[in-house]
Symmetry: C2
Subunit: 532 residues, 2 copies
């Protein structure tokens, strides 16, 4: 009879889950014993980094990914990253060790006292098997559930003395071999009605969300926009964890503003708003106004029942975004509407010293490889980067749609491990970098040739902008004097370059992109927001 | 009528809570607007550091302490540190901003969707006031509850648009002015019975736990041990977050081993085991055996009902540790038992290259100031430090009793801010330092003259020891090559010294102790555990 460990690793193997992200503790050691040679263990030095790396890997590989944490305190350190993974619809199978069963009830040190509640409310499912022999089935349950729509993290707590127990061979085989298919297309009747509504619209518009990319629906989204002559907006940036439509496409208009009044104002002229793969909408500051332009109708396609249920306006269709957009594309004719005015492309930015972040991003755009990937966490220059780079390939952009910092630096390591042949550029604010700073060590340890671009303005620029929006004065903690990310990164073994002028930035980025090891380019930038 | 902000800050002021630890986000800005000049805001660059600093400050000041976090992701990043604060019985009033009330139901970006469940199961109480005008009373409720036994973290979620609302002046005054007294001595009958039992015992022993220090019961503990001729053990190190008895006292025997069988074996000769201010017991590896020596009786005094209820053996008295030990001291006569053999003091350690951690701690002991404080997070040399230093003053030792890493480095900043006149030495393993590494920046920003002592062995030594205990082989992730804490600390502005020989270590520590700014001494040490 196989042991719990053998059956569990066979399960992981059968599902292609042979990369495990982790930070080990005493309660995880028995799971990791005799770690199989065909598995890879990616060590993070703090658990927020472990889950951030796993999140990036899961999104960029499209596959349920293992993150192994250390009982309650390890899960605790990771909770901010689990929040991000939930917002990102990232399929993570998170496990944590637990005290030996004999010591749980007396709550010996390192007991995860309330293991099932510990990761709530951020996981789809949390479980601790009541017997050792149930572990493989619980892990199978978790792996399937994480991958089913809406994708997201699940959690299994694993008592440390379970791994050597025997499991029934036939039961284990069933658990390991079964498959679950979870993609479903919308009711054909709903698709036909939507197609008819679209045809009837006088001035429809398309809003592209992150789950277009996650579901592989780029071609369908582009096809639909072209066949129906739809202008296309990206969903507001705070919720735009991935890019769902080529931002250099003539139909592309830009990124929607992240507040109620401004969204309605931006979409004013449209009578039908078709949203795909996004919540409706990821608003951020509260700027009141009508939820929709007068007489406009909104219809959203999402694979997340909660996104559909909680939206304050419009109709929603819950189904796989790709299959449903494909069905819709087949159901609509070539429209007679005129094509939208072609988008003029990035704006020129006046020269400045120190550089404006937009100028830095325009320098990045000059050397950015066609198959490059951006992992972004620079809140005050998110829009500038999108506007200057106009990323236009699937799987080219990862951003924390939940708004929690700490995603970018860690996720870039996971993205690079999942996509070893594509150049990864991780763009960070000096403040953002701090939330997962030890990921530099993992980037070096894993030999990931990431190019880190760090913008330094000695402040939390997004908060100063927000303070203005909210008329807040005299708040402490918004300045970041004496932060030197380049030196800290060097301390972790990353080669760092400090550059100031636009050409120097471009050349340093080109060199870093050509390097086979992680390199960092730090640039002082002007304070404030960079929007264009 | 005062605003919510005015009444809340008056409440904090009235309770001496004028130091706020935080990492601000957009949802906290309205709370921080016009931050009063008599308050101090201590900025942490990641939320685990914010709560770790607040935990150290709360323990070393003995006062409920404010930690202000950024909605769900900020609370998430801090959950490991909140786990530690719970284990440390640290009175924290944790607040987090929340979306504007108008945008919570639609779950706009940065909504803390399930705010009350988010910090569970690690807080005593979690609440989100249903109306703006309830905020001051909710904060008062939290501050009182955090300070009442068993002390621990509480959580209040604060919608960002509440701060300008008006509150009733008389209601606010009541909330601000009321006091709550929560220390209670044990039933006199229980104290008399315990005194009689102690007198009757032929060979009683005393086990000193962390809450002796937290409750201010050192004098009573020493008085009792001396009057009753009790040998004294410290509770097992994993649960010994503070030291409850002078470790250079003749009656002191040592630190109990952290496992069931070995504890019973160590206490074999005793017929009565009196435990104060500890759980019974903070076991760590599972080494089975009898819970108590045959025919021995155990009686524990604890202010934590849960510690009392969950213990697998012995009787317990739930009451304030100090008041109850004082009452017991008054109720017992001078014993006729012979005094315990005087403790021989620290062991000599043979010379080695690289140095043994014990040798490093013996060098530290040579220059350690009488009023010094150690904040410790070096799992593989915890016992060596205790054995070599024999700390013997109240409030001289802080360690994470929950076992979560990330406490030490952050807490040392809070301890130093709470005890500006006492020299603080923070002893870290190179691996431990990574869980809260950005606290170096806060140490510099706050001009805290902490001496950091970092031991480098290029491994998670405690895990290799544990793997041996559990017969685990072939586990990945236990080596830490190329970690250079000194360089990273320098990147954050800490002056760092790399030293190797024993005399160099001693001299470097002496210099760092004399410095008025944070300095770090990094020492390569031999691999493995240091127990003596």
């Amino acid at each position: 009879m196989p042991t719990v460990r053998e059956a569990s690793f066979d399960l992981f193997r059968a599902r292609g889950m042979t990369t495990m992200f982790g930070n080990p503790g005493s309660t995880e050691l028995p799971m990791l014993a005799e770690f199989p040679a065909d598995f890879r263990y990616v060590l993070g030095l703090q658990e927020a980094v472990v889950v951030g790396m796993a999140d990036g890997y899961a999104q960029a590989s499209g596959r349920a990914t293992l993150a192994n944490l250390h009982t309650a305190p390890g899960v605790g350190n990771a909770m901010g990253a689990i929040f991000n993974a939930q917002a990102n619809h990232s399929p993570l199978l998170i496990t944590a060790g637990q005290q030996a069963r004999a010591q749980i009830t007396m709550q010996a040190n390192l007991t995860n006292r309330d293991a099932i509640r510990m990761p709530q409310p951020l996981v789809k499912w949390a479980y601790e098997p009541p017997r050792a022999e149930d572990v493989p089935l619980a892990l199978a349950h978790g792996a399937h559930l994480a991958s089913l729509p809406p994708r997201g993290p699940v959690f299994v707590s694993l008592p440390m003395d379970d791994w050597g127990a025997a499991v029934d061979e036939a039961d284990a085989r069933h658990a390991i071999e079964r498959t679950v298919s979870g993609r479903a297309t919308a009711d054909p009747e709903a698709v036909r009605a939507l197609a008819a509504r679209l045809e009837r619209a006088s001035n429809p518009v398309f809003v592209a969300g992150p789950d277009i990319d996650a579901s592989g629906a780029w071609d369908a989204a582009v096809g639909l926009a072209e066949r129906q002559r739809l202008p296309v907006w990206a969903t507001p940036a705070p919720g735009g964890g991935r890019i769902g439509f080529p931002e250099n496409h003539p139909n592309f208009r830009g990124v929607l503003p992240p507040a109620i009044g401004p969204v309605a104002q931006t979409l004013e002229e449209h009578d039908l708003i078709l949203v795909a793969g996004s919540s409706v909408f990821p608003y951020y500051p509260h700027i009141p106004g009508p939820l929709l332009p007068e007489d406009a109708e909104l219809i959203a396609i999402t694979s997340d029942p909660d996104e559909a249920a909680r939206a304050p306006m419009g109709a929603a269709i819950v189904a796989d975004v790709k299959l449903t957009l494909e069905a819709l594309l087949e159901a609509v004719p070539e429209s007679a509407r005129p094509a939208p005015e072609p988008n003029p492309g990035p704006q020129e930015i006046p020269a400045s010293d120190p550089l404006d972040s937009s100028t830095v991003h325009s320098a990045l755009a000059e050397v950015f490889p066609e198959d490059g990937i951006v992992v972004l966490e620079s809140p005050s220059s998110t829009l500038a980067l999108r506007n200057q780079l106009r990323l236009s390939r699937p799987g080219s952009y990862y951003f924390s749609s939940g708004g929690g910092l700490g995603f970018g630096l860690a996720a870039s390591v996971g993205v690079q491990l999942a996509q070893p042949d594509r150049p990864v550029v991780c763009v960070l604010g000096e403040g953002s970098a701090q939330y997962a700073i030890t990921a530099f060590w993992s980037a070096v340890a894993c030999k990931t040739p990431i190019t880190f671009l760090v913008l330094g303005n000695a402040e939390y620029a997004i908060l100063k902008w927000f303070a203005e929006v909210e008329s807040v004065q005299g708040a402490p903690g918004l300045d970041l004097p004496a932060l030197d990310v380049a030196s800290v990164a060097e301390g972790y073994g990353v080669k760092a370059h400090r550059v100031k002028g636009r050409d120097e930035v471009r050349d340093a980025l080109a060199k870093a992109l050509a390097s086979s090891r992680p390199e960092l380019v730090e640039v002082p930038v002007a304070p404030g927001m960079a929007l264009f």
